[in-house]
């Protein structure tokens, strides 16, 4: 009964959570957090595929000013809307917490399951139901509001998919809330003996911060979307100025959720990077307390900055100034984390495997994503850059370049534990390189597009109203580079899909602890047994006190 790897003796009967019971029903109605995590992972990646294909369509269309694919403006508008809505609501909000988090939170805590297994299953079912609404939107009607559903466009003019899609997002919100409640209670109540708060892996801290936001921010978007549905269905006039309502109020409501939710996306990725950078450089994390506390700080300050999405919407100058100031405040804890990760590598023993390559990519891309936020947080420059491709590039650097890269890093890091198989390391490195290069080619060009004035959500950019010829030339060239980059990235992602699937069937058997990790998930078999641990594990030291660490070297 200790964290020491006693469990690598093959489990007596050779059973694990994957083969303990059989049949589709044993998966759909399972209460095992690991299976629920796997189901989330598959669904999430499936929707990433759908959203990604839509993105490729969008990029292909923008290859020429008139639209290279010949789709109509309406089709294009639906494509980018569904890309955004699917990626936000179905992919990135649940991404790391619901899949990796669900799988590893109880393992890291040394618990048998999350606190409320039935609730956990219910939140997966709600997720699936919400996803069905989005699919119904695609199949039966259309949705052309952009993922932000801004009123009064969404209440008045947009296609009929609005009610379906917002109902879907409403249901997904409840899925998030239930996950958040479940995680917080699990972390409070189900920690193994000896696992004190200051011995929690930082990934757990980040899930804790994420859950706070899930619980406190999601209900507001729930009610906002509910009001939008009521407004659209019955014309009650809450957001529609024609009936005396206020569209800016919608924006306040929407961003009260949708800004904190950005931290829901990024915080788990921060947690993942904290794990990866320590294990793969065999170092104790630099500034454990600072990183843990800054996660919680970000969760709370995140509630104070939503107005920076509305600098040009006509909110008052005073509140714009306050929001701008608070926005810079949130940059501080974020910077602390980045510096701490870099400092962690100091005098380490850094191995260049696939998870570590993703860590390097993350630090590179997140630095760009975070720093370009300064342009958008400053009032005067935001006036120029708001709603241009600069914003598109910025949030893709943060959400895709950071969250998704963190997600990929997490998948590669924990893949042996989840599946009991090793993937092909060479292909892993090649794919990481392709994604990294493709990503930068795609999105760095978009910074320039944005500063030059290319507005976002444009189906075409040919000269209807006489765009200045030099601008048009520049836009065309940059869009073409960006489109090429997106296809390079897609190639890398398909390669990952290929070798991960291949590893499930043909991969080498994974050892219980391939990276020499100390947190509890490495103290059980790969893949874990049905109830996680043989007996109750007991924790005697922190998760980053690696045997290689020599306290004499400063």
């Amino acid at each position: 009964m200790s964290t020491a790897a006693q469990t690598d003796t093959a489990h007596a009967a050779g059973t694990n959570y994957l083969n303990a019971t059989k049949g589709l029903k044993s998966w759909i109605f399972t209460l095992d957090h690991k299976r629920i995590g796997i189901m989330y992972l598959i669904s999430i990646l499936l929707f990433f595929l759908v959203g990604g294909l839509l993105a490729l369509g969008v990029r292909a269309h923008l290859f020429s000013p008139e639209g290279a694919t010949g789709m109509s403006n309406d089709t294009y508008n639906q494509a980018f809307t569904l890309h955004g809505a699917i990626m936000t609501f179905l992919f990135i909000v649940p991404s790391i917490p619901a899949s990796i988090g669900n799988f590893f939170l109880p393992l890291m805590l040394g618990a048998k399951d999350v606190a409320f297994p039935k609730l956990n299953l219910a939140s997966y079912h709600l997720y699936f139901l919400g996803a069905l609404f989005f699919i119904a939107t695609i199949v039966f009607t259309g949705l052309d509001t952009g993922w932000t559903f801004y009123a009064p466009f969404s209440t008045d003019r947009a296609m009929n998919g609005v009610i379906l899609a917002t109902s879907g997002a409403f249901i997904l919100g409840f899925s998030s809330i239930l996950t958040g409640v479940n995680f917080i209670v699990t972390i409070h109540k189900l920690r193994a003996p000896g696992l004190t708060w200051r011995r929690l892996p930082l990934f757990v801290w980040s899930l804790y911060a994420t859950s706070i936001i899930y619980v406190l921010a999601t209900p507001v978007v729930g009610i906002t979307l509910l009001l939008l549905i009521i407004e659209r269905a019955f014309g009650v006039g809450i957001f529609d100025p024609a009936l005396g309502g206020d569209p800016v109020l919608f924006q306040h409501f929407f961003w009260f959720y949708s800004h904190p939710v950005v931290y829901v996306m990024i915080l788990p990725a921060f947690g993942v990077i904290s794990e990866l950078v320590t294990i793969h450089s065999r170092k104790h994390i630099f500034g454990y307390n600072a990183i843990a506390v800054s996660s919680i700080a970000i969760a709370f300050i995140g509630f104070l900055v939503w107005g920076h999405h509305m600098f040009v919407s006509g909110q008052s100058g005073l509140s714009a100034a306050v929001f701008s100031f608070l926005t810079f405040l949130v940059a501080v804890p974020t910077a602390i984390k980045v510096f701490s990760w870099v400092a962690t590598m100091y005098k380490g023993s850094i191995v260049y495997n696939t998870p570590m390559l993703y860590t390097f990519s993350f630090l590179f891309l997140f630095s760009i994503g975070g720093l370009t936020g300064l342009f958008l947080g400053a009032l005067a420059t935001d006036v120029h850059l708001h709603d241009t491709y600069f914003v598109v590039a910025h949030f893709h650097y943060v959400m895709m370049g950071s969250v998704f890269i963190g997600f990929l890093g997490a998948i590669h890091h924990w893949w042996p534990k989840m599946t009991g198989r090793m993937y092909n390391e060479t292909l892993g490195r090649i794919a990481c390189g392709l994604v990294f290069v493709g990503f930068n080619v795609t999105f760095f060009t978009q910074f320039v597009l944005g500063t030059q004035g290319m507005p976002r959500r444009y189906a075409t950019y040919h000269e209807v109203g006489d765009i200045e010829p030099q601008l048009l030339e520049m836009f065309t060239l940059l869009h073409q580079i960006s489109t090429i980059g997106s296809f390079i990235m897609a190639a890398g992602l398909f390669l990952i899909l290929f070798y991960l699937l291949a590893s499930v069937f043909k991969g080498d058997k994974a050892p219980d602890n391939p990276w020499g990790g100390l947190s509890l998930e490495w103290a059980t078999a790969s893949p874990p047994i049905e109830h996680n641990f043989e007996g109750q594990p007991v924790v005697r030291r922190g998760p980053y006190e690696f045997p290689e660490i020599d306290p004499m070297i400063k």
């Binding site: 008045d156 454990y288 602390i336 380490g348 342009f375 420059t381 109203g465 601008l471 060239l477 400063k554």
Partner: protein, 326 residues
């Protein structure tokens, strides 16, 4: 490649387009200040990361690593130093924002109306234009609102002129104000940057910054065909500029509204059961009051252009539609 871009760019740089307003002169230094802060920070962070990555690459399994767990002074330092820069950037940005929001006295007042999907600009003398014409070195105040001439409600638009570094949302049933002082003659582009539906990407028009002494002339000239252009040719240009092409094709294909090819002289059927031959009067009425008679098979979505087209322009557009008759 970048050099070609720069050479073509007419005063523009790699990062920013032409600088053509007083606000751009305030904006650009701040932009470059943040830019260099970012470049330096990025180089430091990623440089140190790369250095550690190379220097401390694992040479053998189980090699000893540092027991360092943190350094209070260092942590305080990297909170304090960025904070100073963040404060500077905040304050600088705020200063610029106040300027952006505070028009001086003696502005030229232009009223802007955005509809789906066209702009109209009304000058103090009552002239209405679909393109923005402003004198150089003269503060101009835009008082903007969004309207809907059609049965569907008005939506939010946003007026954006990259050369002036200016942007502000345009809301229905509200008035927002934007001001600028153009400093450089030329023709720039005005974009709509708040997503507004089908024609969003075609809702852009030129901004002409003209010498002050030519301004009155240019306004007057709005009402007749430019030199070297027939009325129908001018009509064609206006047809595109007014955003008509978003809904009406000229090649027979079906868009949101009926095609203009062969329209003139044809007999139209309406949803109220009546029919009428499309003559000049019909065209005029259906532009000014589109919801009066709806063609069978189409929706009542066209905005009214009453008050947004001068008579001369209306005639030109009608002349163009006539020229598309079979």
């Amino acid at each position: 490649m970048i050099n070609t871009l720069l050479a073509n760019a007419n005063g523009a740089t790699f990062w920013l387009p032409v600088q053509a307003s007083t606000f751009a002169e305030v904006h650009d230094p701040l932009f470059y200040f943040i830019y260099w802060v970012c470049v330096v920070s990025f180089v430091v962070v990623v440089g140190v990361m790369a250095y550690f990555g190379v220097k401390y690459k694992r040479k053998q399994e189980g090699e000893r690593t540092s027991g360092n767990r943190g350094n209070f002074a260092l942590e305080v330092g990297w909170i304090a130093v960025p904070s100073v820069f963040l404060l500077i950037i905040f304050w600088w940005g705020f200063q610029g924002f106040v300027m952006y929001q505070t028009p001086p006295a003696n502005t030229l007042n232009v009223r802007v109306t955005a509809d789906t999907w066209s702009w109209s600009f009304r000058y103090p003398d009552g002239t209405v234009s679909s393109e923005l014409i402003v004198p150089v070195d003269q503060p101009v105040r835009l008082t903007m609102t969004s309207e809907s001439g059609s049965a569907q409600g008005a939506v939010i638009h946003s007026l954006f002129i990259p050369a002036f570094r200016l942007k502000r949302d345009v809301l229905p049933d509200r008035y927002t104000v934007l001001w600028f002082e153009a400093t450089r003659e030329g023709t720039y582009t005005l974009f709509c940057t708040e997503y507004c539906g089908t024609g969003h990407s075609e809702m852009n028009v030129p901004v002409h910054v003209v010498p002050s002494d030519e301004f009155a002339e240019r306004l007057a000239a709005l009402d007749s065909a430019p030199d070297g252009m027939t009325t129908a040719e001018w009509g064609q240009q206006l047809f595109a500029q007014q955003g008509c092409t978003a809904c009406h094709s000229v090649d027979g294909s079906r868009l949101i509204g009926p095609t203009m090819q062969g329209l003139y002289g044809s007999t139209r059927e309406f949803t109220d059961g009546s029919t009428r031959v499309a003559d000049e009067n019909y065209l005029r009425e259906s532009i000014l009051e589109p919801s009066a008679l709806i063609n069978v098979g189409y929706q009542n979505v066209m905005p009214s252009y009453a008050g947004r087209l001068t008579d001369g322009r209306l005639d030109a557009i009608i002349a163009y539609i006539e020229s598309l008759a079979d």
